[in-house]
Amino acid sequence: MMYPKTIILLCVFLACAFYAQAKTYVVCVGISKYKSNQPTLYKSDTDALTIQNIFAKAGAKTSSLTNYGATSQNIRNEMRVMFSQAGKDDTVILFFSGHGYRGGFCSTDGLISYQTIYEIMKQSKASKKMIFADACFAGKMRKTQKESSQYSRESVMLFLSSRSTEVSYESRYKNSWFTVYLERALRGGADNNRDKTVSAKELFDFVAKGVAQSTNGKQHPVMWGKFDDNMPIIKW
């Protein structure tokens, strides 16, 4: 009797160990106050903390940089430090909320280009890489409109708050509009099939609809990359 029990326990342990290996690393950046001459925002720092909180509750390893702490140097360093911990089965996520320009994001003390972010993300071994950006012109972060049917070991997903020519809006509530719906989606609101997992397509459908409605069609989130529609974003 002891022998089968031992086998079962060992299997359970190995299964747990297997699942435990797949970790998620999240860096959240939110900048409302700028050392440079950017207009003050009112929700972005809260946006970052909101999203950090959700992923932390889901078991991810998270960190955040807000306002005057979110310098270009700090953002680069924090991404490198956090994402370098990820293994090949892991997921790395950058969330950014703040001012954007056509070519990158505004840190509290300067600018950080999309290219810089891509380069840091590329250095990570993680097989799933995601960027959530709640910033003006965030749609510009997409790299190409060319399609590819080739298999890619790496899944890359960018979920961006607005098209390349659109600004992103703050709401009257505690978060910017994109983050308002992103939060609701990640908490399970987007889980259409009720399988306790929010997939990429479910996330897009929910957030895109909500943001467009709430901004009277002035803001349209975009999702871009190489990923499966059913790629899990979060288990809620």
């Binding site: 310098t71 360093n77 320009y101 709401s171």
Partner: protein, 402 residues
């Protein structure tokens, strides 16, 4: 996340409010490129944002979610420190409604809080007809109302109870900042550091106050940066050796000033990271006010960096907005041919004046949106392959990161 948690969220007051937004209610509030000050100016309304103290009030608003139980709309209270009258309005009002309510309740020369900022109740023509001295006097009277908010906001700052490896939040207490700064005065160098400057002042006010206090050759701290008190002509007349000598004097002030570095040292576990920070700070945290002319025609209103290159932003027409940004591409500190000069219209010139293009991809103003001018548009990294009509959902893109 548990079902209970989801149920709790769906039943929360916040959810109720958000659901209301889906019914077509008009809610577009702030663009991320815009802010209250800009909106007020553009609209020609006379509310004047009273400065950085309002940032604290804004934080309090964010931290607390929707407004706490408000006093009666249209009521007026008196600030016990300054005697200024403060009208009660609601964040649910538009700015015009809030202003009208406050004006009617308290008359001119009062203030009101709206969406985290403090505004006065002067009409534009009233404000414009006031002398600088009158405006400064009013600002001093209003100051207790602004700074009084900061303490409350600081107390309400929250930190999420989560697994956090690093948290570098600003939540910087400017009173501590001033304290640290003050402790540094009278140290072992002769650099004069102005005391009578605070972040609630505009840059012009801060410069003028510092200049009046310490004269030329001093420095002052303002909104996270260190600025000198030379006029442009004075700075230009200095030799390179004199400038270097001054820079050496300033260095200790730069190293000891930034409170956010102290927070990093307290919170971060990676010592190398600290060293990087210090190095970065040394290189980039000096701001020269030397482009201010005595008549105020051209002034440096901001400095930033783009991928490691210094970017100076100038106001050349005195309206307080960005007119020209110069990117020091070759890091020489001087305007040279490799540098980029970008106008507010997006025209990009080389350092020797050759027009090389426009930062706005299409040049179409309707695509730029009416608020686009309030942000930087440095499009050197734009990718022409990203078309405006790309599909919103594209899971099969030909990706190559970096």
């Amino acid at each position: 996340m548990s079902t209970n948690e989801e149920t709790k969220y769906m039943n929360s007051a916040e959810e109720t409010q958000t659901s209301g937004t889906l019914n077509g209610e008009e809610q577009v509030e702030n663009k991320k490129q815009d802010n209250g000050w800009k909106a007020v100016t553009i609209g020609g309304v006379s509310g004047v944002l009273m400065g950085a103290g309002a940032l604290y009030a804004a934080n309090a608003y964010a931290a607390n979610g929707e407004a706490d139980a408000p006093a009666e709309i249209g009521s007026v209270r008196t600030n016990p420190d300054s005697g200024i009258q403060v009208a009660q309005v609601s964040d649910d009002m538009s700015f015009g409604e809030a202003f009208a309510t406050a004006r009617e309740a308290a008359g001119p020369g009062s203030v009101f809080h709206w969406h985290g900022n403090v505004y006065n109740t002067y009409y534009a023509e009233e404000w414009n007809s006031m002398s600088t001295a009158e405006r400064n006097a009013f600002a001093r009277t209003a100051m207790p109302e602004i700074t009084g908010q900061s303490g409350a906001a600081s107390a309400s700052v929250h930190t999420p109870n989560v697994d956090v490896t690093v948290n570098v939040h600003d939540h910087t207490n400017h009173e501590n900042h001033q304290q640290t700064h003050g402790n540094h005065h009278g140290g072992d160098h002769e650099l004069q550091v102005a005391d009578n400057v605070n972040d609630n002042m505009s840059f012009n006010q801060a410069f003028a106050a510092a200049r009046a206090e310490v004269g030329a050759g001093g420095v002052f701290h303002w909104r996270g940066g260190v600025y000198n008190t030379y006029y442009k002509n004075e700075w230009d007349n200095m030799s390179r050796a004199e400038k270097n000598e001054f820079a050496q004097q300033v260095k200790p002030e730069l190293k000891e000033h930034p409170i956010h570095q102290r927070e990093l040292a307290d919170n971060h576990q990676d010592q190398d990271h600290h060293q990087d920070q210090d190095h970065h700070q040394d290189q980039n945290d000096i701001h020269e006010a030397s482009d201010i002319t005595e008549d105020g025609d051209v002034r440096l209103i901001g400095q930033t960096e783009m991928d490691g290159h210094q970017v100076n932003i100038y106001d050349i027409d005195g309206d307080g907005g960005e007119d020209v940004a110069i990117v020091d591409m070759d890091d020489t500190g001087d305007l040279t041919p490799p540098d980029m000069v970008i106008t507010s219209e997006g025209d990009v010139y080389t350092g020797d004046g050759e027009l090389i293009g426009n930062a706005y991809e299409t040049g179409s103003t309707d695509q730029m949106d009416d608020s686009a001018g309030s942000n930087l548009h440095l499009a050197s990294n734009e990718n022409p392959e990203v078309a405006p009509d790309m599909p919103d959902y594209m899971p099969d893109a030909d990706i190559t990161l970096a």
